[in-house]
């Protein structure tokens, strides 16, 4: 792999990280903490939405984020021939 390919691979990797970490921040610090009072006016069944994000929703999203990351990276590795 030459250095241009390496740079491109790394840049795509960083793009994925940025995207996933924005979602990570949004569901926990955003919905679960900073905006919790606003979201609590909305209901999700027996839950206030902000409270649900803080004690349930953010955790589900975290799990999904890691598996999405695994998928994206496996594809990226294959594209650049650095998979094993």
């Amino acid at each position: 792999m030459d250095s241009i390919q390496r740079k491109k691979y790394w840049r795509e990797n960083l793009k994925y990280l940025a995207l996933l970490l924005i979602i990570w921040f949004l569901v926990s610090y955003g919905f679960g903490i900073l905006l919790v009072d606003e979201l609590n006016t909305i209901r999700l069944g027996g839950f206030k939405l902000g409270f649900w994000f803080a004690q349930q929703g953010s955790i589900y999203v975290f799990v999904i984020l890691i598996f999405v990351y695994v998928k994206l990276m496996n594809k990226l590795d294959k594209k650049y021939g650095v998979n094993e």
């Binding site: 390496r6 903490i33 975290f62 590795d77």
Partner: protein, 591 residues
């Protein structure tokens, strides 16, 4: 059969299982001892990481903390799971590619400096010792509650079991025992939770039951909010901590989780980089099962408690109440003399624990000598939330015994993971890397085993004589990991320009300011107590959340210092290039 007999049988069986696994998975080289030969499957590593991660505190304590703090308890739920996203995306794959045995290995090599390595070793040892002392104590407490032995005897039994498999098998033995321990602990946690959820709402999934309605058709959370506000408590779903503090504590717990050495090293045990990513996903999935159930248990338990006790005459109280009163985890002091229980805001007692006298009161309650001036009459130890669950649900005795085995599995698995970090730090990072670089693999393995013996003895000593700082483990372990390891490792991977000078000054600054803040505001060791109260917290940030500030300080200072000092040598920049590309991790390279 009685609870006691069942507990002996189930705890005995699980211990026999752990020891059997230890004999089967003996280690014969340092690579097996330190990283299980790099041959653990992602799924097994995910299970082991989950057991390693979930301690006695997660298993026995967390649901209780949430039950009694409502929304504020969210900091633990988000903090102790969100860190795995950082770990999976920013650290684990790259450290696996780097392919050495320990966190100080990475810091020492990446920053081409033995000073950096030493700072990392000292931080790793301090964090791990603080954490492990609480675990050994936890083992003793579970033993004493369920098997009627002295707390100290329980600690000795726990030491013997952990020593057996840590000494023989190192990481290999620990990994496969942790897999078994995860299965025991999650089963023990979920069975009572499912039954309680069915009882409360008819829904067998606790995560959904929490948001369902009870038999009266009112949503459980609304009912609980109502019960609490009527009596003058803050609503369950509101909480009392400031938004700033919630933000900082959550961040410190997340960053600390991602920086804890005993968690990071688990990702050195899988064969490939992509396995490291995947096993982080599995780990969080397995952790999430318990972490999303705990808040549901918290809601059921708190509602049940409020409904059962409020204005109930002591004579008509259910059996579980008086049983836990006998063990001292519940106390009732009839302040207004009406023979009924009033559960109101404020502490019912002066100090932390009720002080019982031998005498019984007018209706047969145990009398205490340290009642407070508030109108609240009820003291409830938070640990009861998980411990009393099976009895409240009227489950059979073998399930109660299972909860004991689950608590022990949680405490032992975490203790073992920490002890491995401690023994590895001593044999590998200190002796092999600093004093005797030429020793043979056999000799290093022997030293590693002796160090694990030493680590168990020290941990056991702390378990029996807990030093004051152990109670502050959350602030200390997570705060220090967040302010030292996390920034140093992330910059080591993502910044080629980061150099020795920047990393060392950053870590020292982060550690120093965080230790200072905790020593002053949490432990009261330094500074004038008059000016170290909650009102004096900087920007309203509690000591538990200050690791976030330490982390920001570390990043800032590292970046500034590195810009004014020489860039790292070409071969180090080559290392960074190399760890960013996943292929070729193969075997963990041995020196």
């Amino acid at each position: 059969m009685g609870i006691q007999t069942w507990t002996f049988i189930i705890v005995g069986l699980t211990f026999a299982l752990y020891i059997g696994i230890a004999i089967w998975s003996r280690a014969s080289s340092t690579k097996e001892f330190y990283v299980a030969d790099g041959g653990v499957s992602p799924l097994a590593n995910g299970l082991a990481t989950a057991a390693d991660w979930m301690s006695a505190a997660s298993f026995l304590g967390m649901a209780g903390i949430i039950a009694f703090s409502g929304y504020d308890g969210s900091v633990y739920l988000m903090g102790w799971t969100g860190g795995y996203v950082l770990l999976a995306l920013l650290l684990a794959p790259y450290l696996r590619k780097f392919g050495k045995f320990t966190v100080p290995d990475f810091i020492g090599d990446r920053y081409y400096s033995n000073v950096a390595r030493t700072v990392a070793v000292v931080a790793a040892l301090f964090v791990s010792f603080t954490y492990v002392a609480g675990q050994m104590r936890g083992v003793g407490v579970v033993f004493s509650r369920f098997l009627d032995v002295e707390v100290n005897t329980g600690v000795y039994i726990g030491m013997a079991v952990v020593l057996f498999y840590a000494f023989l098998g190192g990481m290999k033995g620990i990994t496969y025992t942790q897999v078994a321990q995860y299965c025991v602990l999650i089963f023990a946690f979920m069975v009572p939770a499912i039954f309680i959820s069915i009882m409360a709402t008819g829904n067998p999934v606790p995560q959904l039951g929490m948001g369902s309605a009870g038999s009266d058709g009112v949503y459980l959370l609304d009912k609980l909010d109502g019960l609490m506000t009527d009596l003058g408590f803050t609503a369950y779903t509101d909480g009392t901590k400031s938004t700033t503090d919630i933000f900082f504590i959550t961040a410190a717990l997340m960053l600390g989780t991602a920086g804890l050495p005993h968690v990071i090293i688990r990702f050195f045990t899988v064969p490939k980089v992509k396995d490291a990513r995947k096993s982080a996903g599995y780990a969080l999935l397995f952790i999430a099962i318990l972490y999303t159930t705990a808040p549901a248990i918290a809601v059921f338990a708190r509602t049940n408690l409020m409904e059962t006790v409020q204005d109930t005459p002591y004579k008509e109280i259910p059996d579980w109440f008086t049983k836990w009163e006998d063990t001292g985890l519940i106390a009732w002091t009839d302040k207004n003399g009406d023979g009924k229980i009033q559960y109101l805001p404020g502490s019912a007692i002066e100090g932390k624990k009720p002080m019982f006298s031998e005498a019984r009161g007018a209706v047969g309650q145990r009398l205490i000598s340290n009642s407070s001036a508030t109108r609240n009459e009820l003291y409830v130890d938070r640990d009861i939330t998980v411990l009393a669950n099976p009895e409240i649900a009227g489950l059979p005795n073998w399930i109660i015994a299972l909860v004991a085995a689950g608590g022990l599995a949680a405490a032992l698995s975490t203790a073992a993971g920490l002890l491995l970090v401690i023994s590895t730090s001593i044999s590998h990072d200190l002796i092999k890397k600093q004093f005797a670089p030429n020793i043979s693999d056999k000799k290093e393995l022997l030293i590693a085993r002796v160090s694990s013996l030493f680590a168990v003895v020290v941990a056991g000593y702390f378990g029996i004589n807990p030093p004051g700082f152990v109670a502050s483990v959350v602030a200390l372990a997570f705060g220090l990991a967040a302010s030292s390891f996390f920034p140093a490792i992330v910059m080591g991977i993502f910044s080629k320009r980061m150099n020795r000078e920047g990393a060392i000054t950053g870590m020292i600054a982060g550690l120093a300011i965080t230790s200072y803040y905790i020593a002053r505001f949490k432990l009261g060791w330094i500074g004038n107590p008059e000016t170290s109260t909650e009102a004096d917290w900087w920007l309203g940030i509690s000591p538990e959340g200050f690791g976030t500030v330490g982390m920001l300080m570390n990043f800032t200072i590292s970046l500034v210092v590195s810009r004014f000092t020489a860039p790292p040598p070409a071969e180090v920049q080559q290392i960074v290039e190399n760890i960013r590309i996943p292929s070729g991790a193969g075997d963990a390279v041995n020196h």
